[in-house]
Symmetry: C2
Subunit: 203 residues, 2 copies
């Protein structure tokens, strides 16, 4: 739909409140009422933009995805070495997931039981991340930093490893949210894994 500037501002505010509530209670336990209360608005104002909770959730995830990918795009510059980009990427990934709380949760619940549209959102994000890493690896081959490799296969591998390290951290954690110590261990494992990976493909 065409929206005015005022409406766009309101949409932004709704998305922010929804992001907060979904991050707090998850998709299943957040109601449109919770989000309306957070905003001090009537539910009707939200329904003007979103016909159901699920489409609002989808918009929140899309916004977080976009933010994540844009931030990562910023560090990919042909003038910087691919190795350095990969290292920054693995660090920034953890920091970004702290902002993208719903994306991170999506990234933490497992797919076998989730709703089909949530599964689709995750798959799309996963594919975009693989493409992103693939482009970094290709840059590294062009720069002759890396030996000739199957960039797509290696990108898939490093993404699986990063997903896995995050899952392992979440798996072992004692609280329901990651603590500072969990982040510290995750960051150190990520760096170690990425360094090992870089050594394995270096020229």
């Amino acid at each position: 739909m065409e929206i005015t500037e005022k409406e766009a501002g309101k949409l932004e505010v709704i998305l922010k409140a929804a992001q907060k509530k979904f991050a707090e209670f998850g998709l299943a336990k957040t109601t449109m009422n919770d989000i309306a209360s957070e905003l001090g608005m009537g539910k009707a104002s939200i329904y003007y933009y979103f016909d159901c909770k699920e489409s609002l959730y989808e918009a929140v995830i899309s916004k977080e995805q976009e933010h994540f990918l844009q931030e990562i795009q910023k560090i990919i510059k042909p003038s910087v070495s691919a190795k350095a980009i990969l290292k920054v990427y693995s660090k920034k990934r953890t920091v970004l997931f702290e902002y993208c709380l719903n994306l991170a949760k999506l990234n933490g619940e497992g797919l076998s039981n989730c709703l089909p549209f949530v599964k689709k959102l995750f798959d799309e994000f996963g594919q975009k991340e693989v493409e992103l890493i693939k482009s970094i690896l290709e840059l590294g081959m062009t720069n002759e930093e890396f030996a000739p490799i199957h960039a797509g296969v290696e990108a898939e591998f490093i993404c699986t490893m990063m997903l896995g390290l995050r899952q392992a951290t979440k798996y072992k954690m004692k609280e329901s949210l990651m603590t500072k110590d969990d982040y510290k261990i995750l960051n150190s494992n990520m760096s170690k894994a990425v360094d090992m990976f870089i050594s394995s493909i270096e020229k």
Copy 2:
């Protein structure tokens, strides 16, 4: 309790049936009746050995753990290179988890929501696995295959990576059980990760 040979045989049969049923339905959804029906016994025969479902489950997990650790112990021989042992370990781990279905499930549900006694079982197993890997790394240092490293820290890292790769596979899978293709991808990722790890500590 002291048990006769006949009783030991019966215990073995109960554990086997329980292992099958728990693997099929999980701890929460398996009843003592399910296990008794599987055996064609009355429930009283099971209660003679186990006072509740949880203690039977604990016995099943202990049995699987023991089997797992014994099988792994078999491949640790001072005459074999530590590198070779690590490689075999990563392959054998996947195969063993197919037999140790309840241990594998325990290893796949996340700890934040599980019962305290299940968490304890997992933690114990995790610690034993770290110790096992640590002893392989120490062997490698004695053999002068590996550079001087903090064996405990590195063992913790490789265990986290293996747990993570398994979790990532489970996370992405479409079915509720791992398919042959899932195992193929997991095995290939495991080998790759272990090879990378070995290269990173080689002398």
